[in-house]
């Protein structure tokens, strides 16, 4: 795994440097008040005038000591601080989203599979595909207008209200929840389709297996057959998907975060790329790569744990 990680950092480093522009250029270009000497001075200070492989080597040396360096942007803050600022909210929204997706998609999938081609199945299919096709930012704006401007039930953007500090603890909790309702619901809406269709397909496959017929023949009631035997087997791939979605937890959608004014990882990554803030971009990529590799490993392991058939295949 380590060589893989090294390779990833190597490729990422060189690719981001392929893009024209450097962090100091982004800050100073087309600014009449900045002289060429000033720009050269900035370059030297950040070590951007050294040859590329040397810059990579310096970065790697610091990384081994878990020093992600400082951001190239004017705030010069340590990269880890900037990431730590934004991770919690991104993870929170993603986790809540995931919970909603699973608790909605699984039942929908199961019910669609057990009643294939009925009105229920057909309507839910249309419903989830609409959710899949609708652009989330458009839906976000519409719901902001409806729930925020016209009905006034929910706040429009951000994470807390103006009078947050003056609220009681319970008040604070409610305020926070109200701010999160729209972002979480809308971000789950799109992903619902995929998960529920997948669940439905799995369930359909399992339900046609021999052992289900056996269970029915044994005289077990339908409830037990479906929820105890079939579901367990159909859930297995879902577990692996969970493992694979771990790296997704730290990624935010920049469009989504921009619309809801949520200071998350998506915005940080996008803004850093646009500003060519190399250290922040590399920091996020390294964390993301580590999580992806870890998530993959976890998914493999859990698949083996959950499915005895795989275990025995040595």
């Amino acid at each position: 795994m380590i060589p893989l990680l090294l390779g990833i950092t190597f490729i990422s480093f060189f690719v981001i440097h392929l893009a024209p522009g450097s962090p100091t250029e982004m800050q100073t270009m087309l600014d009449p008040k900045v002289s060429m000497e000033a720009r050269a001075r900035l370059d030297k200070m950040y070590g951007l005038d050294k040859p590329l492989p040397l810059q990579y080597w310096n970065w790697l040396k610091r990384l081994v000591a878990l020093d992600f360096g400082r951001s190239f942007s004017p705030d010069g803050r340590p990269v880890l601080d900037k990431i730590k600022d934004r991770m919690p909210i991104t993870i929170l929204i993603n986790v809540l989203s995931l919970i909603i997706i699973i608790s909605a998609a699984i039942p929908i999938g199961v019910l669609s599979a057990t009643r294939p081609n009925t009105l229920f199945d057909k309507t839910t299919t249309i419903f989830v595909f609409v959710g899949f096709a609708v652009p989330t930012f458009w839906l976000a704006l519409l719901s902001m207008i409806l729930f925020g401007v016209q009905l006034g039930w929910l706040p429009i953007s951000g994470l807390k209200s103006y009078n947050f500090e003056q609220l009681s603890d319970l008040g604070k909790f409610w305020d926070y929840t109200k701010h999160l309702i729209l972002p979480v619901l809308i971000s789950s809406f799109g992903a619902l389709a995929g998960m529920s269709r997948y669940m439905r397909a799995n369930m359909l496959e399992v339900v046609h297996q021999d052992y289900i017929t056996t269970a029915r023949a044994k005289g077990l009631d339908e409830r037990t057959v479906i929820y105890k035997h079939a579901l367990r087997n159909a859930l297995m791939p879902v577990v692996t998907i969970l493992g694979l979605s771990i790296p997704g937890l730290i990624g935010g959608s920049v469009i989504f975060e921009s619309i809801f004014a949520i200071p998350g990882m998506g915005q940080l990554f996008y803004a850093s790329v646009i500003a060519r803030d190399y250290s922040v971009v590399m920091g996020i990529l390294v964390i993301g790569a580590t999580l992806t590799l870890g998530g993959n490993l976890l998914a493999d392991i859990s698949y083996a744990l959950v499915d005895p058939r795989i275990r025995t295949r040595r």
Binding site: V34, R39, D75, G76, M144, I156, K178
Partner: protein
């Protein structure tokens, strides 16, 4: 399972409703604002109103008089980056620094230089020495007194090679800087340098907190201490910055007690927040100004302001190319472009035709320059004189076998520029010129195309300088890679006037030189100057004291106020 889902949904809905009804006061207050804002009734639904209660019981005779209190909520699409003024160049940091810090001088409403931290100043007869007499009894936000030593420290920081600032240029012209006494600061220049005076509007930083420390890692970048009208309270990264009025501000305590800077990256969301009362002040696009803010309720709740903005948009020609080297060709192109229809189409009429690099109401603006009204016939004539005619009947004029065809380049993300390019493409088609419009991402645009002069024509904009000095953009010495005269315009006569104007303080002389400069540019047309857009803002109507002037509306922000009965947020003054 289905029942479970329905139950879950019901619980969520119920929770949302309960959460809303828990705070009837706040909700009622925000709803009530819309109809009652213009009616002078005491707004009772303010939260725990302690000392304010008595003032509201009686029908106030002091209805519209200046009062302390309330908060101004403003939106920004980007977060600030660094609150030490010389270390950042983004507009969000600049907005905040403008309120927290002060410079020695500033512009008043008519764009004349007046004192800020400096009470007065003397300029020696030869224009080489400026002596500032500083205000006494000014305190930093932490209570320490402000002295000339702080100015000296700021100057030293600007020229220090270890300071990662982009703005040291102006200060490298200084030959000598001296602290004559606690309140007198003197600077000597190598030669008279007209932009020198306004260069001292840079924000002064506190010596007692930064001397001897590394400016890059100073906590002041997140928690600034200045001498300005507002003190820093809190910065929640990525969300908001809160400032409070400085009770000891030397120019009088600001009326508005709190400045709440909200970071909302999406303009559509910002507009919704504005409409629902979550923001009090926002810059509008022409579309929003003209079509989306027309309702009666909006006009009652907000006042819209329109004034000439500090920028102009142009079509720049790469003068290294043989295609654009003949002046007649450039003049023809300017005649062929219908600038008024660009203003109608792109800005919905909210702008003016640009004739040069200056703001139409600036003191150096020359109203007598040669104008180029839309005249495709004249354009065709001039082109013919320059040797261009349609000899092969394909609809495109040509010369020596090659057709007149070029690409206009502009940057991604700016709808107005792209639309302008399309209109120009159409205009030029009418006279037989083929134009393609190409859009490139900003960084690539600058690095690969502008810097390397790898372009034919560009649509870009400049902010109009506050000091009329044009050296950096128009002088022939500024044509190297990465510099601002990227169209490679070299005119020794223009150079002469720019240099003369730069090195004298004589107002009348400078005006004369700059008039000449504008005449030359109008005759030569190295750019086709397109338009000066209007700045369009709206501010919540509860704020009084706003007066549009040549400097815009923000010059007297500390004098804006919300009369007591109209105040929305209960902020202890």
């Amino acid at each position: 399972m289905k029942r479970t889902i329905i139950l879950l949904l019901l619980i969520v809905l119920a929770g949302a409703c309960w959460g809303c009804s828990e705070k009837p006061q706040e909700k009622a207050k925000e709803k009530a604002e819309e109809p009652t804002a213009s009616v002078q009734q005491p707004v009772q639904e303010q939260q725990p109103a302690q000392e304010q209660q008595p003032a509201q019981e009686e029908k106030p005779a002091t209805e519209n008089e200046p009062a302390y209190g309330d908060a101004m909520r403003v939106g920004s699409i980007g977060d600030a980056s660094n609150l030490i003024p010389m270390l950042s160049s983004d507009s969000a940091s600049s907005d905040i620094n403008g309120l927290v810090y002060s410079g020695l001088v500033k512009y008043d409403k008519d764009l004349k230089i007046v004192g800020d931290l400096a009470e007065s100043w003397d300029i020696s007869d030869d224009g080489l020495v400026i002596t500032f007499h500083l205000r006494k009894n000014v305190k930093w936000h932490d209570g320490e007194p402000f002295t000339a030593n702080d100015v000296m420290f700021t100057y030293k920081t600007m020229i220090d090679p270890k300071t990662p600032t982009a703005y040291g240029g102006d200060f490298l012209q200084v030959k000598k800087a001296e602290v004559l006494d606690d309140y007198t600061f003197q600077i000597t220049y190598e030669q008279p340098f007209a932009p020198a005076l306004i260069s001292w509007s840079i924000r002064i930083i506190p010596r007692h907190l930064l001397e001897g420390k590394d400016i890059v890692t100073s906590p002041l970048s997140r928690h600034p201490i200045g001498t300005g009208p507002y003190t820093f309270v809190k910065w929640t990264t990525g969300q908001e910055i809160i400032l409070r009025s400085n009770p000891d501000y030397f120019d009088g305590r600001p009326y508005i007690s709190e400045y709440n800077y909200r970071i909302i990256p999406d303009l559509a969301t910002m507009f919704l927040e504005l409409k629902s009362g979550g923001l009090d002040w926002m810059g509008l696009t022409p579309l929003q100004y003209k079509r989306q803010t027309d309702s009666e309720s909006f006009n009652k709740e907000f006042n819209k302001y329109r004034y000439i903005s500090f920028s102009y948009t142009y079509l720049g020609y790469n003068l290294l190319l043989p295609l654009f080297q003949d002046r007649k060709v450039r003049q023809a192109l300017t005649y062929a472009i219908d600038k008024q229809s660009i203003i109608e189409g792109v800005l919905l009429g909210l702008g003016k035709v640009a004739t040069g690099p200056y703001k139409p109401d600036s003191w150096v603006y020359n109203p007598q320059v040669k104008k180029y009204p839309y005249d495709p016939e004249k354009a065709r004539e001039l082109l013919k004189e320059a040797g261009w005619a349609d000899t092969d009947g394909d609809g495109i004029i040509d010369k020596d076998g090659s057709p007149f065809s070029f690409t206009i380049l502009t940057n991604q993300g700016n709808e107005q520029r792209i639309n302008t390019g399309v209109i120009i493409q159409n205009n030029l088609k009418q006279i037989g010129i083929e134009v393609k419009v190409r859009v490139v991402e900003w960084a690539a645009f600058l690095k690969e195309f502008i810097d390397k002069k790898n372009f034919e024509a560009v649509i870009l904009a400049w902010t109009t300088p506050q000091d009329p000095d044009l050296y950096d953009v128009w002088h022939s010495s500024k044509t190297k890679e990465g510099e601002l005269n990227f169209i490679s315009y070299k005119n020794p006569e223009l150079d002469k006037y720019i240099e003369l104007a730069r090195h004298t303080f004589d107002h009348e002389k400078r005006k004369e030189y700059y008039y000449k400069v504008q005449d030359i540019l109008a005759e030569d047309q190295p750019y086709t100057f397109l338009y000066v857009p209007d700045a369009l803002t709206c501010v919540n109507s509860r704020f009084y004291g706003i007066e549009p002037a040549p400097a815009g509306i923000t010059y007297n922000f500390t004098k804006w106020y919300a009369p007591k009965p109209l105040q929305k947020y209960n902020v202890e003054p």
